[in-house]
């Protein structure tokens, strides 16, 4: 039930913020803060509890499973379930959700109620995506997170916001429609095979699909996910959307929306179409590597700070696709780490870009410089996250990238070596950020204030998390271990009968269900 409550709380909180925003300008942000904090605390407790009690070697990877009929005549049900991966990403969602509310605290001055409504509904959509185990419901949530994001960029963005909002919407919507086609195709094939027309993920898992059709269906899902991820050459919406969105929007885009793409591949593409995915692997890895290098080179030449960070996301997400299609436990664990650590490190960089914009009224790094003198705290934190972004050992991103590369090395030596060279490029652009923003001669004579208390809280929590993940990532690894093991098991070479091995339905009488 916790799953429904969480989505309900978010959507309800959003509506409440919208309504009360008419009366009072301060109320919506408090409502939003309370809403996401409640969700965050609930999930953290749930995680700790689950981590302590549940044996990670369980054969059944599902922690909670909730199912209720929605449109039974079409086989559509309101089916939510989470396993370790979903749980982890949900915790991340609410963590970044709290930060997003905090960092737009003073940022948003007009239509406050509607702003927080959108923010909370995006979070609700994202949470839904991470939980939905019915493909129709999944598509529904996929769209739910899209539309409020469109408003967020289009209304509260900076100068070129309308263009960016359209671009974002058209890219993700068009690719989403391809996924809808693939979902419906899968639905009918399964229905014809078994006579049972259903959108239930667990039923569809075992579907026997003729290989050539499977490839096209897989491509439908894949395009939707890689556009979201994004992978070169589908990445061009990202820099525009990121740079024009308000700070919280960039944070959620980079931290969560991109992750839904990777989640989709892990959850749907690999288990549903293992053979087709296997055939696609060399190409996917190639595009991942192209993304790593191409994104890094583009990041180097940017002068707009947010655009620069956006291109680093393209580079980092290249690692994700490289790792996913290496199909082994090391790389997949690295991918999950990368999802979490990239959300934190890039999110931090975006928040910082937002703070700089608030203070200096520019995003152009050529107009910055020498800011260390006036704000050493921000300089130090900025340095730390630039280092995280270039994969300095001891910080979370290193673990992620090292595991991905280590796993990918087994699958494809040459591509991995090229990807590793990407580490040099990441050093180049990260140091350029630090140099252009914080070091060098000071350009300004007017006073620029350092962190406020609220900002210290935001940045300290991000800093602590990235260091924690860098020095002791085991909780994250253990949480997703059952799911990743099972996934990797599907692709082990000796396991020829790939179709059915992933197929297990969750126990409906799980203890958490009984308890609630």
């Amino acid at each position: 039930m916790i799953l429904i409550y969480v989505i309900g709380i978010l959507m309800g909180g959003g509506l409440l913020a919208l309504l009360l925003g008419q009366w009072n300008r301060n109320l919506p942000r408090w409502i939003a803060l309370c809403t996401v904090s409640v969700g965050f605390i609930a999930f953290v407790f749930f995680w700790i509890n689950q981590y302590r009690t549940v044996n990670p070697h369980l054969t059944n990877t599902w922690i909670i499973d909730y199912r209720h009929d929605w449109i039974p005549s079409f086989g559509i049900s309101f089916h939510l379930a989470i396993d370790g991966l979903s749980l982890l990403l949900l915790v991340l969602t609410f963590f970044l959700g709290v930060l997003a509310v905090l960092c737009s605290w003073n940022d948003v001055k007009e239509r406050v109620g509607f702003y927080y409504f959108n923010l909370l509904w995006i979070l609700a959509g994202i949470s839904g995506v991470f939980m939905a185990m019915d493909l129709f419901l999944f598509y529904f949530f996929w769209e739910v997170m899209l539309i409020p994001m469109y408003f967020l960029i289009g209304i509260w963005g900076s100068e070129n916001r309308v263009y960016a909002a359209y671009k974002f919407f058209i890219f993700t919507q068009a690719s989403g429609l391809l996924m809808l086609l693939a979902i419906i195709g899968l639905y009918f094939i399964h229905g014809q095979n078994t006579g049972l027309y259903t959108f239930n993920y667990f039923e569809l898992l075992g579907t026997v699909i003729p290989p050539h059709i499977a490839f096209w269906l897989m491509l439908g899902f894949m395009i939707a996910f890689v556009v979201k991820l994004p992978i070169v050459p589908f990445h061009t919406w990202l820099p525009d959307a990121h740079s024009e969105a308000p700070t919280a929007g960039s944070l959620i885009l980079a931290g969560l929306l991109l992750k839904t793409g990777a989640y989709g591949i892990l959850r749907f593409v690999l288990p549903l179409f293992p053979e087709a995915a296997h055939d696609l692997a060399p190409w996917a890895m190639l595009f991942g590597v192209i993304g790593i290098i191409y994104g890094a080179i583009l990041a180097y030449s940017q002068t707009d700070l947010k655009r620069l960070v956006a291109y680093t996301s393209v580079s980092h997400m290249g690692f994700v696709i490289l790792g996913i299609f290496a199909f082994n436990e090391l790389a997949l664990q690295g991918v999950v780490m990368q999802l979490v650590t990239h959300a934190i490190s890039t999110g931090a960089l975006f928040i910082m870009a937002g703070m700089l914009k608030e203070r200096l009224h520019t995003r152009n790094i050529n107009h910055m410089g020498g800011l260390w003198t006036q704000m050493p705290q921000m300089g130090a934190i900025g340095m730390l996250f630039a280092m995280a972004s270039l994969g300095l050992p001891g910080l979370g991103n290193f673990i992620a990238e090292f595991l991905i590369l280590l796993g990918a090395f087994k699958a494809n030596v040459l591509l991995t070596i090229i990807a590793t060279i990407g580490l040099v490029f990441s050093a180049i652009y990260s140091l350029r950020i630090v140099q252009k923003v914080f070091l060098g001669p000071s350009e300004r004579s007017d006073h620029v204030s350092d962190f406020s208390f609220r900002e210290i809280i935001v940045m300290a929590s991000l800093t602590l998390s990235i260091v924690w993940l860098g020095l002791y990532p085991q909780p994250v690894i253990n949480t997703v271990k059952p799911m990743i093991n099972k996934l990797a098991h599907v692709f082990t070479p000796e396991n020829k009968n790939v179709q059915n091995s992933y197929h297990t339905t969750p126990l409906s009488t799980h203890k958490y269900l009984v308890k609630k």
Partner: protein
């Protein structure tokens, strides 16, 4: 006492944390006490641990302490484990001891700097990372320390960040070493898939079992590790960052770019010596790189006028000697030279820093001069350091370490006469540029007035280091001269003994030749720079000499080469593609859509008659088609 090992790196780290988090609120005195005190405590702890380690050596030859499991994924489970054996003991001794002296010196040197606490925070973090590097039990933890020292080096080279030149030097250092690190990371992947672990003791025991002598996989692995070492230790072809790294404060140059960090490559190769031994080709390459580097850097040092750049090139050159020793299989000799070099090079940098500060931040040696009587303490300590660098026979420590390398360069199994000759030539050049530096700085007439004299905080560490630069050599004496082998006995617990070629027993002749080259070098410099400086002027008339001079001065043109071959093309591509050529594709789609809509909207003129005309014409066309067909 060994179980206190974790405190050795943790103390400087605690110092870093305190200074980084609360540095603003601590008075300058306390900043210095915390900064220098944490490292000094660590040094004392190392002494205690060292004594207990030597008096009760563990049965396995090493002591390890697991703090926690870093991560555990599939069969990949690196620990946070500290590992102490004779080799790492030597390194932690040098790091903490010299580190502590340099911290004390810095308390005086940086006294007037506004970012006092940031400086000590970075220095402490550096000591911590370096300790982690040499105490790491597995290659991943070593890699953490490895990158950590790179970060600190970056932070400290660019310490005076207002000047963009410093920032450039800092980034150059970080990125060039990163290139080596990347190769090393690939080496780690190879090692992991070969041995299924990254734990150093396991690798070293498994390697001779799984790999055959001269196997190509051993060569590949060794070369990848070597690439990491070459980057960090500023050897050919990645040496260009070190001279620029002198942009940092002098204590930084002393600690990072002379005494400790740059020798990380030496440590790595010594640590993984079994893999190198399995590949004679790779070992040969190590020796050749070392010889080439010491040669090239020596000539560059000869032409510099910035005192710190002379020392920087001499550092590159001396590390070249260490690589040469590693390459010919003189493992203990390389580590011995590392230790002695750390003493005298730290001394030289600190003394040079004192000179520079006394002369109002004047770096140019040609504007110094005549300081012999004005700064007596600096003069004597500098002289001792220089003597050690030039390997002045018998009295200086540098002689004992370098002489060993020269001898092994020919006499050991991997050695050959050419390597020996280059090393000898290098020794000759070293003597020239060292004497040149001494003469220009301390003799002749004074060209710049002295600002202020260095205080006790700065001179005491100099004296201590000078003491070691003189006497540390006596713990290891040549075979034919005392044959006292305290140091190599210790190291041979870890590193294999050097195998000599058959029939090499004329060590004395080699020593005499080395002695001759040193005195020859000193004499040449004495003639050219002191006795008859007009000869230099005469030489400068020649176009050829001038071009050669400029070529050497620019570090053999490597910077220019890399700029034209690598940096500029990449920057060019990046700038050309600033607006992302892929986006043009989508803009093309947009353009087609927009132009279609515009051309169609032209027909929607809003004029009713126009529409009706269209209707009528359409009707007529359809009707006439019906009639015709």
């Amino acid at each position: 006492m060994n179980n206190l090992l974790w405190l050795v790196p943790v103390l400087p780290f605690a110092g870093f944390l305190i200074l980084a988090l609360a540095g603003k609120h601590i008075s300058r005195v306390w900043v210095a006490i915390i900064g220098a005190g944490s490292v000094s405590l660590s040094a004392i702890l190392v002494l205690i641990i060292g004594i207990s380690f030597l008096s009760h050596p563990p049965a396995t030859g090493y002591y390890s302490q697991t703090l926690w499991t870093w991560m555990q994924v599939a069969d990949f489970n690196p620990n946070i484990t500290l590992f102490l054996d004779a080799l790492s003991l030597v390194f932690i001794f040098v790091i903490t001891f010299i580190g502590a002296l340099i911290h004390i010196y810095s308390a005086g040197f940086m006294a007037s700097d506004k970012d006092y606490s940031r400086f000590f925070a970075c220095m402490n973090l550096f000591v911590f990372s370096m300790l982690l590097l040499v105490l790491a039990d597995n290659l991943l933890l070593l890699y953490l320390g490895w990158e950590g020292v790179g970060l600190c080096s970056y932070l400290l080279i660019g310490f005076w960040y207002e000047n963009p030149v410093n920032g450039y030097a800092a980034r150059k250092a970080f990125i060039i070493t990163r290139i080596g690190d990347t190769a090393m990371a690939i080496g780690l992947f190879v090692i992991f898939y070969q041995f299924g672990t990254l734990a150093i003791p396991d690798i070293l025991t498994k390697a001779p079992v799984l790999w055959q002598q001269g196997a190509s996989i051993a060569t590949i692995t060794a070369l990848l590790l070597l690439a990491g070492g070459v980057g960090k230790s500023a050897q050919l072809p990645l040496q260009t960052w070190l001279p620029d790294a002198m942009a940092g404060p002098s204590p930084v140059s002393a600690l990072i770019h002379a005494a400790t960090m740059v020798t990380a490559g030496v440590y790595l190769i010594a640590r993984m010596h079994i893999i190198f031994q399995l590949s004679p080709i790779a070992q040969m390459i190590v020796a050749v790189i070392g010889a080439a580097t010491l040669f090239i850097a020596g000539f560059s040092a000869l032409t510099q006028y910035d005192i710190k750049r002379v020392l920087a090139y001499s550092t590159i050159s001396q590390i070249g000697y260490m690589f040469l020793a590693l390459g010919v299989g003189a493992w203990a000799a390389a580590i011995f030279h590392f230790m002695i070099h750390a003493f005298f090079k730290a001394l030289l940098f600190l003394a040079a820093g004192a000179v520079i500060e006394a002369l109002h931040h004047e770096h140019n040696m040609f504007k110094m001069g005549g300081l012999k009587n004005k700064l007596p303490v600096i003069f004597w300590t500098f002289l001792i350091g220089s003597a050690s660098l030039a390997a002045l026979p018998l009295i200086s420590a540098g002689f004992y370490s370098k002489d060993q390398i020269l001898w092994y360069a020919w006499a050991s199994e991997g050695g050959n006469p050419l390597l020996w000759f280059i090393a000898l030539l290098g020794a000759f050049i070293t003597a020239i540029y060292t004497t040149r530096m001494m003469v220009l700085v301390f003799w002749g007439e004074a060209k710049t007035e002295i600002g202020h004299h260095p205080g006790k905080l700065m001179t005491v560490p100099l004296i201590v280091l000078a003491f070691f630069s003189l006497f540390a050599g006596f713990i290891e004496l040549p075979h034919n001269f005392g044959h006292f082998t305290l140091f190599s006995d210790l190291l041979h617990q870890v590193l294999p003994e050097t195998v000599l070629k058959a029939g090499m027993n004329n060590e004395l002749q080699f020593q005499l030749l080395a002695l001759l080259s040193t005195f020859g070098g000193i004499y040449v410099a004495y003639v050219f720079y002191y006795k008859q400086p007009q000869r230099i002027e005469k030489l400068k008339q020649s176009r050829f000499v001038m071009n050669l001079y400029l070529f050497w001065f620019s570090g053999w043109g490597f910077d220019k080469l890399y700029n034209t071959l690598i940096v500029r093309p990449i920057v060019f591509i990046a700038n050309v593609n600033k607006n992302d050529v892929v986006d043009k594709l989508y803009q093309g789609v947009t353009f087609v859509t927009v132009s279609l809509y515009q051309s169609l909207s032209f027909t929607q003129s809003g004029s009713l008659r126009w529409y009706i005309m269209g209707l009528v014409i359409g009707a007529i066309i359809i009707l006439s088609m019906q009639i015709m067909l």
